[in-house]
């Protein structure tokens, strides 16, 4: 009897230890090198031109076309909001507007993306070609809802070389449409007399954004730099010196303006131009 009792006990005790301890699954593999190689039917230049050829505030719903490009700017610093700019070999850029914050985590600068345009809307938003979800007759736009982004914007490989074109202020002011939504490099520039040694932007409680002015060293040309009051660098002080500027070329109605991705784009390490 004792033996039976003991063996039954031991048997059951072994059942106790028999376990199916739940472990966390293993880490998923990186998809950074993955490229779905979707067929591409148009260049960004085709799309951007189509957008610029429309009147401001007009829009069109796109057909079954896919484009691809490299992310050249995103919302990481908060200076750009809910948008990324993509650029392809046609050296044109377009805004993709998504109704989601912190897009940088999915779309770091240098990531290749495919955009399936079918069902999306191309609009001329105050002079800027943008891919949005919907646009109404008055030109008000809605970004791609977060739950639909994965359907329209397909992530591909990362990192890739980020295209950048070296230009002058005169180049972009004389032919802005060529450079809209692309990353450009401008050398020998500085913040002008009233824009240097001040915060990049006023606090968001005062203004949603502030225009500062960039000028070339000979004071012959200048261009607006628009900084958001919500940018993480809003309170930092603009440098006094001159140097190289990386920025996104943008436009608000008829005003050409430059957008920073972050202050690391402002490499004004030289002395102030006299």
């Amino acid at each position: 009897m004792k033996f039976i009792r003991l063996s039954v006990l031991l048997f059951t005790a072994s059942l106790l230890i028999n376990s199916c301890v739940k472990q966390d699954p293993t880490a998923p593999p990186s998809t950074a090198n993955y490229d779905p190689n979707l067929p591409v039917q148009a260049t960004i230049k085709n799309i951007a031109t189509m957008g610029l050829n429309m009147n401001i505030a007009s829009s069109r719903i796109m057909g079954d076309t896919t484009i691809s490009g490299i992310v050249v700017a995103n919302d990481k610093s908060g200076n750009i909001y809910k948008q990324i700019m993509i650029e392809d070999d046609s050296k044109a850029g377009v805004v993709v507007y998504m109704d989601k914050t912190y897009l940088y985590s999915d779309f770091p600068v240098g990531r290749k993306v495919y955009v399936k345009l079918k069902g999306l809307t191309l609009t001329n938003y105050k002079g800027l070609p943008e891919i949005v979800f919907t646009a109404d007759a008055a030109g008000n736009t809605t970004g791609i809802p977060s739950g639909l982004i994965g359907t329209y914007v397909i992530k591909a490989s990362y990192p890739n070389v980020v295209p950048v074109e070296e230009v002058s202020i005169i180049d972009i002011k004389s032919n802005p449409n060529k450079y809209l939504n692309t990353l450009v490099k401008i050398t020998g520039v500085q913040f002008d007399g009233t824009s240097n040694n001040v915060p990049y932007a006023q606090a968001s409680s005062i203004a949603s954004g502030t225009s500062r002015t960039i000028e070339d060293c000979s004071h012959t040309a200048s261009v607006v730099m628009y900084n958001s009051g919500y940018a993480s660098f809003q309170s930092l002080t603009t440098p006094k010196g001159n140097g190289t500027l990386y920025c996104i070329c943008s436009q608000y109605v008829s005003t050409v303006q430059l957008l920073l991705r972050d202050t690391s784009d402002v490499q004004f390490t030289g002395p102030r131009c006299p």
Binding site: M1, R5, V8, L9, T12, A13, L15, L16, I17, N18, S19, C20, V21, K22, D24, P25, T26, A27, P28, P29, S30, T31, A32, D99, K100, T101, Y102, L103, S105, D106, P108, R111, F133, T134, D136, N140, T142, P145, S146, G147, L148, G150, T151, Y158, P159, A203, S232, Q234, S235
Partner: protein, 937 residues
């Protein structure tokens, strides 16, 4: 005489020893006869075990026993049984035919033979409320099961899963071997600490309401003392297997109890494993082990016990959702806490607890009239909850309101029906998008290369790597608790009994956040996300710990917050009971102190002067008094009335405005007062028993803090919503009746109809966690006459039991519940919430009305059968019993019962649209079952 029994209302067990002569003669043998009866019902028990000298026998179904060849002289008679409280008495065997007559013993206030104590079925709240991080719900309701009280049995077993709370009360008074189990910070006893130990927790003393209890002063709800010593366990071995489709699917349990040996020693061992790869709700899992060991030494005048137990448990939780999500996914058991990672389901909200306890207690019985118990307890260990934490990232929670279709209707300035329709179609076709996208979150971390400058505050120490945007972290409570309790019961005379005691608890809890998984990244940084968003300009604000600025956090590191609460509580109480022929009176009083302080281990950048180090000690002096009268009109009818007045300290975590970040205390913290009264009528006869009770309890001057994340673009922070001067009332009636219709059929009816509601319009002070200001925004909230969210406030049940002989029975229960109100968001009952909204308009009514969840009807069936295997296999011990018990609940498979609901604490003050943040709900299980097969020998 030694009895292991506790003494109720001054009544000692009296053994009637009949026909004993006074001389003893050695060398002779006698036959000892007697009958064991239930002291209360005067009816025999089944399964009683009697041992004397070297013999042991079982009693007949009528309770009779007979033992031959018992040597003359003083002999110990030990009575044990599954349904009774073990008892030992000394008998003088001095006649060849020693007739003991009827021996009365008390029934264990625990489950009937073979049934499963429902304790384990009432898990700690399975659904978390992500917003109100500090609200603990009725995690202790499982302690309040008493199967000799049909009302409480049904209330907890049938309606517990629907979050019914008797009288709307929450706190209780739970002791194990004399040690109070309540956490000093919250006041709750956690059932998780003893989960899976059903076999050894069956012996209970239980009082409901204000009735006197002999081991403590008690609470408004009553008190429970679980006698979990080796000496309390019925001798034998039990092996059982339980299967269910609820929180866990399997349980194996083994228990071996020595019973009290002739040497006076007893030991007991129990272990169990509960598990489910996936519970009733998708993505939930369960893995719990339980261990228990106890040793007792019974001496002539006392009993020394040493008991230890632990229940390491890990379980994945379910989420509460808005109805829109349940509609999109077409199931009421949708759970957004999990998602696929590398093809496998992973739950982000995992609760794990391992808080073992060691209890030593000594019961001293110098004479028949005195029982003195002294206990020392030590509990320690961690309770942790995991969740996804993120910095500079989009909400990883897939059912975040901005992801849902309704956002494009209620959340935006210009509604966009196209986007709304597209999202509805998307989620209906791809409900998997509403689960956590683990793979995507990992890949976001893998591509986020960043350089952190001046790591740990060391200039020039810069680190570049993959900075995790998303991590999994644990909120940890590391507890250490010493408890001393002593209580004494002394029967002064046949009319007067006195009780009293002292308990002292010293508890230390360290709370911190601990990084559990970097999710593919190299490090996380100890920054405050919310300060980062609103406190530009002061680089210190973002630092969670100024003494280690820019600290890189790796797996196992503490971050975010780290502080310790130390509390000391001591109470002295006394009670006197006077029993007259027709009247019983009692009075009881308690006085004590609670003192506590906070010690911060991090110097928070927002509160550098109020976060690090030890804060001044807060002390409160408290007292409680209660008393009552019972009038026994005649043996069948009695009435009673009890009343009490309590002055209690505020909850510790409701005294600090935000104990995680700083030591600021609420304005003028003060004790709250409870005035309570209950009265009842009892009818008792051999075929019909009934009880009708009324109660009213007013609680005044309470402080309640609700803490939640406020998504308002202007706030974007955790917010501490401090309500002071909160008054509530619970008033209602309870009814229960049991009737023996035939010898084999009995019926039980119970009902409870109550109202628990706010009785004033308190002031609210709102403190944000992301700005250093101490000046709150204050406003009045108009919550007077709104109901509290305390589960269904009306319940009705009718049960029929058929139990013929031959050890089997079947029950059918018909249950109805109603008036389950959602807990209100007080901020939605302010002038601001309806600013510019026309009074009396539809929108106005929608803002101010309180939702009542739909009423529900359910039907349950349960039953069981026991086989005495020795009848079939003669070789087996005569006590070898095989029992099968089980039940099917919610037989009609009603999957539309909302068991809980609450208003979100966020509100759309911009457009005053209550639909922007609609109510969240959890649904009760549809048809579910459990079955237990147990072998005892």
């Amino acid at each position: 005489m030694i009895d292991f029994d506790t003494i109720k209302k001054g009544l000692l067990i009296v053994f009637m020893l009949v026909g004993i002569n006074t001389y003893a003669q050695s060398g002779k043998y006698a036959t000892v006869k007697g009958r064991i009866l239930n002291k209360t019902t005067k009816e025999p028990f089944t399964d009683v075990h009697i041992s004397i000298a070297t013999f042991d026998v079982g009693a007949s179904p009528e309770g009779f026993f007979e033992i031959e060849k018992v040597p003359f002289g003083e002999q110990k008679l030990i009575i044990t049984g599954f349904k009774i409280k073990s008892d030992t008495t000394t008998v003088n065997v001095n006649s060849e035919k020693t007739e003991l007559g009827d021996v009365y013993v008390n029934a264990k206030e625990s489950s009937a033979d073979g049934t499963d104590i429902p304790t384990i079925n009432l898990e700690e709240n399975a659904v978390q409320n992500e917003e109100n991080t500090t609200t603990t719900t009725e995690s202790s309701s499982g302690f309040y099961v008493a199967d000799n009280d049909p009302f409480l049995f049904t209330a907890s077993v049938v309606f517990g899963p629907f979050h019914f709370r008797p009288r709307g009360y929450d706190n209780g008074d739970v002791h194990i071997n004399g040690i109070p189990m309540q956490n000093l910070e919250s006041g709750y006893a956690s059932i998780g600490q003893v989960g899976g130990l059903n076999d050894v927790l069956r012996s209970r003393e239980f009082t409901y309401g204000l009735k006197p209890s002999e081991f403590s002063f008690g609470s408004v709800k009553g008190s429970t003392n679980i006698n979990a010593t080796a000496a309390d366990q019925r001798e034998g071995t039990s092996i059982s297997y339980y299967n269910s489709n609820t929180a866990y699917r399997n349980r194996v349990m083994v228990t071996h109890n020595s019973g009290i040996q002739k040497s006076g020693w007893a030991y007991s061992l129990s272990g169990s494993h509960r598990w489910a790869q996936e519970g009733y709700v998708p993505g939930t899992f369960y893995n719990g082990y339980s261990f228990y060991g106890s040793v007792s030494k019974v001496t002539k005048k006392g009993q020394l016990n040493l008991t230890a137990y632990a229940a390491p448990t890990t379980r994945g939780k379910a989420s509460a959702e808005v109805d829109e999500v349940y509609d999109l996914t077409n199931t009421h058991y949708f759970n957004s806490n999990w998602g696929y990672q590398n093809g496998e389901k992973r739950n982000s909200n995992v609760a794990s607890s391992f808080q073992p306890a060691i209890i030593a207690n000594y019961i001293y019985k110098p004479n028949e009239n005195t029982r003195w118990n002294t206990s020392f307890g030590y509990e320690f260990g961690k309770y942790q909850n995991s969740g996804i934490d993120f910095y500079n990232g989009y909400s990883p929670f897939p059912t975040y309101y901005k992801n849902l279709p309704s956002y494009y209707l209620n959340g935006v300035t210009t509604p966009n029906p196209i986007a709304q329709a597209a999202l509805i179609a998307q989620y209906k076709a791809h409900p998997e998008l509403l689960q956590i996208q683990w793979d995507n979150l990992y890949n976001d971390n893998l591509t986020n290369f960043e350089t952190i400058y001046n790591v740990n505050g060391v200039a020039g120490q810069n680190v570049t790597g993959k900075r995790s945007i998303y991590v999994v972290s644990n909120s940890v409570d590391n507890m250490s608790k010493f408890t001393f309790n002593t209580n004494i019961t002394h029967v002064v005379s046949d009319k007067v009994t006195v009780n009293g005691g002292l308990d002292v608890t010293s508890q230390t809890d360290e709370y911190y956040k601990e990084l559990k998984d970097l999710m593919g990244g190299d490090f996380f940084v100890n920054y405050n996300q919310f300060a980062a968003q609103t406190s530009l300009g002061n680089p210190n604000y973002v630092q969670n710990d100024l003494n280690h600025p820019n600290k890189l956090i790796k797996v196992g590191d503490k971050y975010g917050y780290d502080y310790t609460l130390r509390a000391l509580k001591a109470n002295l109480w006394g009670q006197a009971l006077y029993s007259h022929e027709q009247f019983d009176f009692f009075v009881a009083a308690q006085g004590g102190i609670l003192s506590f302080n906070r010690e911060g281990m991090m110097k928070n950048g927002l509160f550098p002067d109020n976060s690090l180090g030890t804060s001044p000690t807060q002390s409160f002096t408290n007292y409680r008094v209660k008393g009552g009268i019972t009038y026994k009109i005649n043996p069948k009818n009695s009435v009673y009335i009890n009343a009490g007045y309590f002055n209690d300290a505020p909850r510790i975590d409701y005294t600090y405005i935000s104990d995680r970040t700083r030591d600021f205390i609420v304005n003028n913290p003060s004790s709250n007062q409870t005035k309570t009264m209950e009265a009842g009528y009892l009818f008792h006869s051999s075929f019909f028993n009934s009880r009708l009770t009324g109660y009213v309890t007013d609680n005044v001057n309470s402080t309640i803090i609700k803490r939640f994340f406020n998504d308002d673009p202007d706030i974007q922070s955790f917010v501490n919503y401090v309500m002071t001067g909160v008054n509530t009332r619970s008033i209602g009636t309870e009814f229960s009746a049991t009737a023996k219709i035939t010898k084999e059929i009995s019926a039980t009816a119970i009902a409870a109809v109550g109202q628990s509601f706010y009785t004033d319009n308190p002031t609210v002070s709102i403190y944000q966690d992301n700005i250093p200001s101490m000046t709150p925004t204050s406003r009045q909230v108009f919550i007077k006459n709104y109901y509290l969210g305390v589960g269904p406030q009306s319940i009705y049940s009718l049960g029929l039991k058929y139990s013929p002989k031959n050890y089997w029975h079947v029950n059918v229960d018909f249950n109805f519940m109603d008036r389950n109100y959602v807990e209100v968001n007080p901020d939605r009952r302010t002038q601001l919430a309806a600013d510019m909204v026309d009074s009396g308009s539809t929108q106005w009514n929608k803002i101010f009305s309180q939702e009542k969840l739909a009423s529900a009807f359910t039907m349950d069936i349960s039953g069981g059968k026991s086989f005495n295997l020795s009848k079939y296999i003669k070789k087996l011990n005569h006590r070898t019993l095989l029992s099968i018990n089980g039940g099917i609940y919610n037989l009609l498979n009603n999957q539309n019962i909302k068991s809980t609901g609450y208003e979100q604490l966020r509100f759309d003050f911009l457009n005053n649209n209550p639909d922007k943040f609609p109510n969240k709900y959890a649904y009760a299980y549809g048809i579910n079952y459990h079955v237990t097969i147990a072998l005892r020998f």
